[in-house]
């Protein structure tokens, strides 16, 4: 077997098996730190052994067994462990690998531990990417523009807190489950959004590595909790957003808004999968949560062949439903964009202006105002709003787009189609 084949087998195994190995070891040894280190050592050993001996028939089992041995070696080395505990662990030395079903449950346990509400949000994100996603500390540090040492400390502190405070390793009780699942989804949505609207002057405008990782983890959670409507909703939302990724940034690195996107460049397979998931949730007849409604809004957008074909009354009806669940000003802002298409920019501007107190620091508020003012021919006010939006925006493609729009205000004739205003109906 060639070196390239072995490399590919290891990459594949890392992708498929990392979370399984960490989860199985966490359950067995009750210690995230030992599990993480032993899993990393097992993968390092695989690089060596598989090149020499070939890829084993069951890479997952090989990795779990090797990681188990590494963990036991470490526990043996650590003299401070008391003898009784050591002996107990040694007795289990030759345990057969866990049944696949049980290991799947372990991964779910691991996710809930990493996303525990007693941990800070940024810590949950980092731990999830490390323990479930298998990203290295330097990769996570780069993703969030944090120093490697600081990210390493954050993860180390989190593992220490989990151990000292005894954050449990289990799927929460039915009573706590909805709140805890929504905590997990918030972590995944944050990872996705950071990829989708990456911030920072030196960052790529869209970080495909992060959106792909968020989708992969959401797929995993959906496989583990297929009945949860919000998990399916979030996956559909991500797929329908990801489908537009390549059409969303121009060759020159500028954001392309929904109305100007080349819809032929959308990923039809992702759109079809997203639509199928939305239909599946609708068919259950169960009242949708926030992510399911956002997915449905994106399904309406991706069903239209042209901006003019968009069923705006359907979009508005969905936003009305969303406002009931989430009366936040950001939802109200996105709702106003649909209002502009149905009732005109003047009505929408009145609604947007009412949000000024709460959203003055949010670039999309100013970008939306700028666009509505432009459509009303109030160019001077529009220019001022673009200035504020540019100042607050963190995404390079968005800044380029807003700057062009502002600079075009002088040349009054704009034979464009009606513009959706904000970059996307997606908060």
């Amino acid at each position: 077997m060639s070196r390239i084949d072995v490399r590919e087998a290891i990459t594949r195994a890392h992708y498929d098996e990392w979370a399984r190995v960490v989860a199985a070891l966490t359950r067995r040894f009750g210690d995230l730190d030992i599990a993480e280190e032993a899993a990393a050592e097992a993968f390092a050993t695989a690089v060596e052994r598989w090149l020499a001996d070939g890829v084993p028939p069951n890479p997952g089992a090989w990795l779990t067994t090797t990681a188990n041995r590494k963990a036991i070696d470490r526990i043996r080395r650590e003299s401070k462990r008391d003898d009784k505990q050591k002996q107990a662990l040694m007795l289990d030395d030759d345990d057969p690998p866990e049944r696949p079903g049980a290991i799947d449950d372990d991964r779910l346990r691991l996710i809930f531990t990493c996303c525990h509400p007693a941990l800070a949000m940024e810590t949950r994100v980092a731990l999830t990417l490390r323990m479930i996603g298998g990203l290295t500390v330097p990769e996570i540090a780069r993703a969030f523009l944090v120093q490697e040492t600081a990210m390493g400390r954050r993860i180390t502190r989190a593992k220490a807190k989990i151990k000292a405070a005894r954050i449990p390793y289990r799927v929460p009780s039915a009573h706590d489950l909805p709140a805890r699942v929504s905590g997990v989804l918030a972590v995944l949505f944050l990872v996705f959004n950071e990829g989708y609207l990456a911030t920072g002057p030196d960052t790529e405008p869209v970080r495909h590595d992060l959106t792909a990782e968020a989708i992969r983890l959401t797929r995993l959670i959906r496989a583990l909790m297929p009945e949860d409507g919000e998990v399916t909703g979030l996956l559909a939302l991500m797929l329908l957003t990801e489908a537009r990724r390549t059409a969303r940034v121009s060759a020159s690195g500028e954001l392309v808004t929904l109305d100007e996107q080349d819809r032929g460049a959308w990923d039809t397979a992702l759109v079809a999968e997203g639509h199928q998931l939305v239909r599946q949730r609708l068919a259950t007849g169960v009242a949708p949560g926030r992510y399911q409604i956002l997915a449905a809004i994106n399904a309406v957008h991706t069903s239209a062949h042209d901006m003019r074909d968009t069923d705006w009354s359907q979009v508005l009806a969905l936003y009305d439903q969303l406002v009931q669940l989430d009366p936040s000003p950001i939802v109200a802002l996105n709702r106003a964009i649909a209002v502009a298409e149905l009732d005109g920019p003047e009505v929408a501007l009145a609604a947007v202006d009412r949000l000024g107190d709460k959203l003055a620091g949010y670039h999309a508020y100013h970008a939306t105002r700028a666009d509505l003012l432009r459509r009303l021919g109030r160019n001077q006010e529009s220019g001022a709003a673009y200035d504020q939006a540019i100042e607050l925006a963190g995404n390079t493609a968005e800044i380029a787009y807003l700057t062009r729009r502002r600079d075009q205000l002088g040349s009054a004739q704009t034979p464009r189609r009606p513009n959706g205003g904000s970059p996307e109906s997606f908060d």
């Binding site: 525990h116 509400p117 007693a118 000292a164 405070a165 005894r166 954050i167 449990p168 929460p172 706590d176």
Partner: protein, 107 residues
């Protein structure tokens, strides 16, 4: 596993009779369910004395070691199998005593 649940007062002062009654009900639950280890309310921080005997001669200083708007007004020590149970109990305790609480595990 034992957890210290500190009651943080930010100026409310002594517990009212209603709060005291709610705390009694909560304490009864802790005892009945096997979570009770110890609990107590503290007199105001101004009644504290700080002692430093690291230098061979004990030095007594009037007042709390940290002047702050928020102070420790009382505490529970609870027995719980893990943090989820401790957090659930602490949430009940916070409601009963009508104050913020902090959960911290013993070593």
């Amino acid at each position: 596993m034992q957890y210290l649940v500190s009651v943080i007062d930010d100026g409310a002062g002594s517990a009212t009779p209603t709060e005291d009654a709610a705390i009694d009900v909560f304490n009864d639950r802790l005892v009945a369910e096997g979570h009770w280890v110890f609990a107590g309310g503290l007199a105001s921080p101004s009644s504290a004395t700080v002692i430093d005997n690291r230098g061979g001669e004990a030095i007594f200083t009037d007042g709390p070691f940290l002047e702050s708007k928020e102070y420790l007004a009382g505490f529970w020590i609870m027995e719980a199998p893990d943090l989820d149970v401790a957090l659930e109990l602490a949430a009940e305790g916070s409601k009963a005593c009508n104050r913020k609480v902090e959960v911290r595990p013993f070593q």
